[in-house]
């Protein structure tokens, strides 16, 4: 199994006597992973630590073998990219294109190549026609897409998305799903924080449930969604389809529309 990230006994506190993450240990391989959990569980804090923007209070994090305490965040950015929860925290250039070129320009040092990467990334999120607009003249949903493109354009091996679907309509959601699928096909590790359980069920192989700074569940997405009681404790819910299947008395954990439709076509409900 090729290990991409190793987290060892990680603890973190913003202020004394208030630990946000408590002694977390885990390993990420290339399986696409969703991190879910209640508000304030520590999800954003956790990925900022992976990214090297925060440093562990105790414990170690290795990104492709590099200890985040020993290398600079800028150095790590070749390997790991993070799309921030609030796009306003990430955007600081005057045009969409400049914004998306900023990252590749820093790591490639080649303007032509950087621009090529940036334009490709903008095409992926469907913003190629808005390249010369000021990012603040875009709506929140487009601004979020800009922040995604500006990480994708850097082509790191690990890409973390912090609540990418905020403010997106159906079309935006589909764009983001396709971006993730494409990144997966390229062999990248995609980690996503989200509160959208349907999105988790549809896209991710592995799911981690974070609750009050500890890992409550970690496993195959379908297995995780079969643990309804624990999910409830973590203020989570089942995906809509699973809720309906459960209500219909179906024992299996069904996650997608198609699974449920097929089930109904071939089985009788026993109630």
């Amino acid at each position: 199994m090729d290990e991409v990230i190793r987290v060892q006994n990680l603890s973190f506190a913003y202020k004394q006597d208030y630990e946000v993450l408590k002694n977390i240990s885990l390993v990420f391989d290339k399986k696409s992973t969703a991190i879910i959990g209640q508000n304030g569980a520590g999800k954003t804090t956790f990925v900022k630590l992976l990214k090297g923007l925060l440093k562990p209070t105790s414990g170690e994090i290795y990104i492709k073998g590099y200890n985040t305490k020993e290398v600079s965040t800028a150095f790590l950015s070749k390997y790991i990219g993070l799309v921030f929860q609030n796009p306003n925290d990430q955007i600081f250039k005057n045009t969409v294109l400049e914004e998306v070129m900023f990252g590749p320009l820093n790591i490639l040092k080649d303007k032509k190549q950087a621009q090529e990467n940036a334009i490709k990334a903008l095409e992926m999120v469907g913003l190629q026609d808005k390249m010369h607009i000021h990012p603040y003249d875009l709506g929140l949903s487009d601004r979020k897409l800009v922040s995604i493109a500006s990480i994708v354009s850097m082509d790191p091996d690990i890409i973390i998305l912090d609540e990418p679907t905020i403010a997106q309509d159906h079309k935006g959601n589909t764009i983001i799903k396709n971006v993730i699928k494409e990144l997966k096909e390229k062999g990248k590790l995609v980690i996503t924080i989200t509160h959208d359980m349907d999105f988790v069920a549809e896209i991710f192989e592995r799911t981690i449930v974070l609750n009050e700074g500890i890992i409550l569940l970690d496993g195959n997405t379908r297995e995780v969604f079969s643990q309804q009681e624990i999910l409830k404790k973590a203020y989570l819910e089942l995906p809509h389809v699973a809720q309906l299947a459960k209500k219909l008395g179906i024992k299996q954990t069904l996650l997608t529309e198609q699974e449920l439709i097929n089930f109904l076509k071939h089985n009788k409900l026993n109630n």
Binding site: Q38, G40, E163, A167, D169, K171, L248, L264
Partner: protein
């Protein structure tokens, strides 16, 4: 009793090329729960801001028609004065924090102080709304030290505490955990039952389907339809407006299961009822 009237509302942003709202008219009764849906850029936020008067009083631009809140024309009055009748929760919670208070508790107090609510009453309301949004244990936190979802909870709590007659919410649960957004929808439904009028723009289509009495469907600044969830989501052309119906409705469409009135079910309970009839 009608307490919000929108008549031939038109609006263009100062730097906009097209109308952001085009000839919008509708009426809302006291205690109704109204959902606004539409694709990105369809005008949901603009409409929300027009109801509280930020459009046009804050953004300027070209404005026509009128918005009447309890018979007051909002474009002609001060946003601050209107704020005792209409509250708004912004799309981005970060921009809702006043920045002039040091704790979550005082942040909720801000609006109440301005409205001149007596202190005892103020404290009661602050604690109620913080508990409702599960923020009470964070009451001593600096608002800027909250997580994204906690900040969104704070934005909602601050406005609910002001007890407006009309509560406008612009995607208020986009960053909430699943149970949190369910709790918020339930809480505002309770408020509606007690007579508060609710206007909520949302992309969470399943939630709107099960909570809204009626839905406004916007497309490119125009009001396409204003009707019950069943009727809106049973429209054959719904996807042309960038809206995909709730999962439950989609499943029923694939299986061709309709209710007695000839519409596709839109909520968990309804779809369960219909499916058991067919497959049970």
């Amino acid at each position: 009793m009608v307490n919000l009237v929108v008549e031939h509302l038109k609006y263009r942003y100062p730097l906009g090329n097209e109308l952001a709202l085009e000839d919008i008219s509708f009426e809302v009764k006291k205690g109704e729960f109204i959902g606004i849906i539409g694709e990105n850029g369809s005008g949901k936020s603009t409409l929300c801001q027009a109801i509280v008067g930020l459009v046009p009083n804050f953004y300027k631009g070209a404005y026509g028609g009128k918005v009447l809140v309890k018979e007051i024309e909002v474009a002609q009055s001060d946003v601050s004065e209107i704020s005792s009748y209409v509250g708004i929760v912004f799309q981005n919670p970060f921009t809702q924090i006043t920045g002039s208070k040091l704790t979550v508790y005082e942040e909720v107090a801000f609006g109440l102080e301005n409205l001149g609510i007596p202190r005892e009453e103020m404290i009661k309301r602050i604690e109620e709304s913080l508990k409702l949004l599960r923020l009470f244990e964070y009451r001593h936190f600096n608002p800027f030290e909250l997580s994204g979802g906690q900040m969104q909870r704070l934005a909602i709590a601050s406005v609910i505490a002001m007890k407006p007659d009309i509560l406008v919410l612009d995607e208020p649960t986009s960053q909430l955990d699943p149970q949190g957004s369910e709790e918020v929808f339930q809480a505002i439904q309770d408020l509606a039952k007690n007579g508060m009028t609710i206007i909520i723009a949302e992309h969470k289509i399943e939630k709107i389907a099960s909570y809204a009495d009626k839905i406004i469907l916007l497309h490119k600044g125009k009001l396409v339809d204003f009707d019950t969830p069943e009727k809106i989501f049973s429209r054959e052309d719904i996807e042309e407006y960038g809206i995909v119906p709730p999962v439950y409705t989609r499943i029923c469409k694939s299986l061709n299961v309709k209710n007695e009135a000839g519409f596709y079910p839109v909520t968990l309970e309804q779809v369960y009822y219909e499916l058991v009839k067919v497959y049970g």
